[in-house]
Amino acid sequence: MSVLVVMEQKGDAGWHRISLEALAAGQKLAAELGVSCSAVVLGEDAGIAPLSAELATKKLAGAWAVGHALLAHYTADAWVAALQQLIAETQPRYVVFPHTYQVRDYAPALATRLGQVLISDVTAVHSGPVFVRQWMQGKLNAEYAHKGDGVCLVSVQAGSFRADEVEAGSCEVKTFAPQLEAAQLRTKPGEPFREATQTVDLSAAQVIVSVGRGIGEQENLGLVEELAAALGAELAASRPICDAGWLPMERQVGSSGQTVAPKLYLAVGISGAIQHLVGMKGAKTVIAINKDADAPIFEIADIGVVGDLFEVVPALTRAIKGAA
């Protein structure tokens, strides 16, 4: 019985940041269960050499370097096949993934091939083990247990475990050469690209006024624009506002937008779906105005107002102008 953590490489920059959080989660789970923990990185041999060397400095039973020319670029087919072979070889009881876009793309297929179900987007692990994940956009927590003797696959949510709690140590790098053939890869991935140069850098903003679905109509955006102007703040939004085209995509905060860490984040009509929270958890002070007292945004807000934003926001804009 053992734990295997699947690490993810990102560009040339090294690890995807959630990988190390997943590694911390895997080490913790293994310690709790009294079993060993290993980690694996997949890619082209030369590309992953520095990464597996880094894993060798962690408290692990082994660092697997799964190298193959067909792993040079991510495809779901290659990742599923390679990991299925490694899992057959090493027989882990638990496999822990970072909940990245890439993992979302292949881990459910891997689970299906193993006759299992991925317990995805886990925010905490309790003894048992029991895995906590969110329902209803964060309004409820559901605790999942895995049944049977098969391998249990779990992905952990960004920010739920701490990368700085990864335990150092030393282990051996072991190589594993998966059997892959070009004909197995049904999809042809292109090079990643950006749409246009970003002109708005929210990550440097000290004060952000951010608007969500609660604003109701595009015509109402003037209310938050005035508030932002009075505060000298950058205007930001949650995804639905940008999806609707009411504000440009580059003003989006969250997992698919920018990550911000201002002194003040004033969330107006934002319920606080996890995809948004991961982008603004780093704010020093969060003020939330929302009509729904159960909105998950209040779980991370320092100051909360349960009320009608159409009354509170204009009053606040007036009060700020009066105070200046």
Binding site: S120, G138, L140, T187, P189, E195, M249, G304
Partner: protein, 259 residues
Amino acid sequence: MKIIVAVKQVPERDAAVRVAADGRSVDESDVAWTMNEPDAYALEEALQLKERDSEGEVVVLCAGPERVTSTLREALAKGADRAIHVVTPEEGEGALPSRDTLGVAKLLAEAIKAESPDLVLTGLQSDDLGAGQTGVVVAELLGVPHATLVLQVERAGAGIKVKRELEDGWFQHIEMPLPALLTIQSGGNKLRYATLMGIKRAKSKETREVEAVAAGARVDEVVKVAPPERVKRTEMLTGSADEIAAKIVEKLKFEVKVL
């Protein structure tokens, strides 16, 4: 191109959700239901693909009890050509909550197989359980290639080329043969509303009922559901709008120090 769009009916966003008496599920007694929003984007993409091709068929598919027919009707009113309803019991054995992701995906995959579509579209995740897996699992069960978080679909020779969202504002094109399954990310298109004419026409469109395949044993088990514990102490401000505004200004001046 024959396109199947798998949609889910979920509780409305603003719905107050309560934990059921068993402490392991959601109390559905007072819930108002709606089409899962990412699935609405999948439907929109399918309708636009058909309109661009000026031919083809869009079939909407939903599994669930009687109540999901309202979501199927909405899809028909927006322009889907016909509907397939995989009928599951309201509760108990075989009902949606008794199935894990694999069990639900099997329901959908069985219904899809019989149709032999060129393309299957669904939303990238559901607004209720949010597992974000059903589409990929269905692709695996069907034995077809997939792509997730797709914003745009275009034809490329005998196959398709899709634009996939990556993290931090990056994108990628992926080419694949047909048949294929795509999970659609929100925001790639603008959602249409059903027109009066559409609602009228929907009444004469076919909805075929399909029996659900038996539920296998779950490999995971939900042992407890509860509202999250507050980890942070939130100071809640009350009063009239002006009183609240004055309190916030105080804090902005003396605590947050941004004024």
